[in-house]
Subunit: 416 residues, 2 copies
Amino acid sequence: MEAVIISCGTELVTGQCVDTNSAWLSEQLTAQGVRVVEHITIGDDIEDIRDAVRWSLDRAELVIITGGLGPTGDDLTREGIAAAIGQPLEESADALGRIRAFFERWRREMPESNRIQAMIPKGCTVIPNPRGTAPGIAYQNGTRRLYSLPGVPAEMREMFEAAIRPTLRSSLGDACMLGARLLCYGISEAKLGEAIADLMARGRNPLVGTTASNAILTVRVLARGDDAESARRLLDADCNEIRRRVGRVVFGEDDETLQDAVAALLIEQHKTIATAESCTGGLLAKRLTDIAGSSAYFLRGYVTYSNESKTQLLGVSAELISELGAASEAVAKAMAVGCQRAAGSDFALSITGIAGPGGGTPPEKPIGLVYVGLADSAGVTVHRFLMGEHLTRAEIRDRTCKSAINLLRLRLLSDR
Amino acid sequence: MEAVIISCGTELVTGQCVDTNSAWLSEQLTAQGVRVVEHITIGDDIEDIRDAVRWSLDRAELVIITGGLGPTGDDLTREGIAAAIGQPLEESADALGRIRAFFERWRREMPESNRIQAMIPKGCTVIPNPRGTAPGIAYQNGTRRLYSLPGVPAEMREMFEAAIRPTLRSSLGDACMLGARLLCYGISEAKLGEAIADLMARGRNPLVGTTASNAILTVRVLARGDDAESARRLLDADCNEIRRRVGRVVFGEDDETLQDAVAALLIEQHKTIATAESCTGGLLAKRLTDIAGSSAYFLRGYVTYSNESKTQLLGVSAELISELGAASEAVAKAMAVGCQRAAGSDFALSITGIAGPGGGTPPEKPIGLVYVGLADSAGVTVHRFLMGEHLTRAEIRDRTCKSAINLLRLRLLSDR
């Protein structure tokens, strides 16, 4: 079965709001084995709604439209659907009764303007809305079905669960679609694509694709099966194969972060960490404490932004700083060592570099040059990164922290 | 002028990602007086892309398509556009040169798979991508124009600014639409709405509306004028009136942050700041160093996550912590005083509290209870906040830092 999702609202086409309903509905439908072929977003305009509904009913068996069912003059989805299916609007006694009951429950008078929400196209049925005044509208023509739901996410979701999901199960049979996302760090999208090119072949089941966002690469795997078990088997086989090919590059699944992965390893190995940051200004400590329960492994962080604080708090020699500059391998090393000693932690991560947009002195010290130190009681290693002068200050700080956390992750994996 | 925006990506129609590019582009186009009539989202499918491009070029003078320009097999926007306009793909020497140069800049080998990104439909021109390997594609047929940009938001935005926005200005004529956003902190949306209700009347010019996001309230003002000067006059009059009514609640405009406002005040007054954080784990220091040039006012930050570190680094008495708990007014006070003294800064901000999701002991110490201390060499004040148990850990940490930075902002404004 194929589906089209329509979102209706001038606030969407003017960019004042981001449409999250379509993604949520798509996720639900995809998980049920429905192929969502298109999202359409239009403003509150009768002709645009009419045309979009007509086109969608032509294109797919299932059409869901959200938004435009409110009581004000700019809510025109009712009219648009009526025009698309060539039926007049009629007052539904069922819908009016439900709207009245909604107000009675809160002991309020029903404003006359809410009465318009009881108008539905002739031949359509009402979808009850337990959380609001806008009833939904259901239309069926042969095997083609259209559902109109309110734009308020909580109302839309509850009505989808109650009125639409049950009908999908019965029309799909046992078929099932399952998805997974493998998150990767420390590889280019091109290299990742080369490593799994055969799995990404068009039309293959599972469907495998990659996306890049802020230096994190995501491999999406979507498996279709005749039942849940066979979909799960296909999904797991591909996920295992991808992990086998790219190894430790995969740090997590779905919504996991690099710090989630590191936190789990630190807790598993009963290890503690402290941080000493210059150019990232606290972001590394922030990430490592994003996780509830981080006090089990995170002891303390130093944001040694001034040179004086590097000397006072971490014992970095002032001569070293004036001789080699704060953004240097030797200073990163001294920061990590000083931090580990002062904190008495198992590990210490240090960061110093040039986040920009000013302060770069190419070619020796361009913007984006960053040193990350990793110390334990036995020694220290320092890694040099060139994050790229084309990146913003925020991006350089973000990627520096990701690289630092990833270094600790790889270290903990090696120790295991 | 009317526009259609197309987003391309299977991750979008399956609901694995929310499309934010279309909203951003719509906001930019709307502010330039372009009417965005529709957003279309489709998967990585040549026929679907072809049909969407054809339909859109029929419907509107301006079409922008994002996504699907990567180097892997599921990136099919190039092919889809070529099919829509009936032209073959050709390797562009210009594009290939830029991709090679991108890799050379980082002294890396160009993977062979990136070569496909230099393929563009015959008759189209290349839009340079300074931040990535995917060049954009521009197509013109009479007054109809199509721009294809990468899906990575940062790349897409920079290329829009460089290649598309300048062409819009010239095609719009004298009529002008100007927008502004006034950013507010420390007032409820209902109170703000009451204060400016008359300005928010429907159909009024300028159009005034409010939105709330993560405790920041935004007042949007959109003014239409026959020329730039008259639009500017209307816009400024409304902005001034809103500022007059709500006063210091307005901390900035457009994309400014609370830390931007505080940084400007600190620099103006030649003052310095240091921080001591427990539950926010470095986020406060991170925000205060978000700004280029923050070394002018930010000296150092302590992330005293363990109780031991509070005692060792800030001199908070261990008895005080064991008696009253780390999340207490007295500890916040001692942290701020200890931090100011150790750093020798003009001001010190301290934060201690319960970010959750565990660790709350209601009614005395529920999740979301936070103390913020503000010290200078003359003394210290502590503010108690109840952020709300319904908030997530990330939200509590976010709002705590906003409140702390806002306290410093109000203090600096009073000192002025």
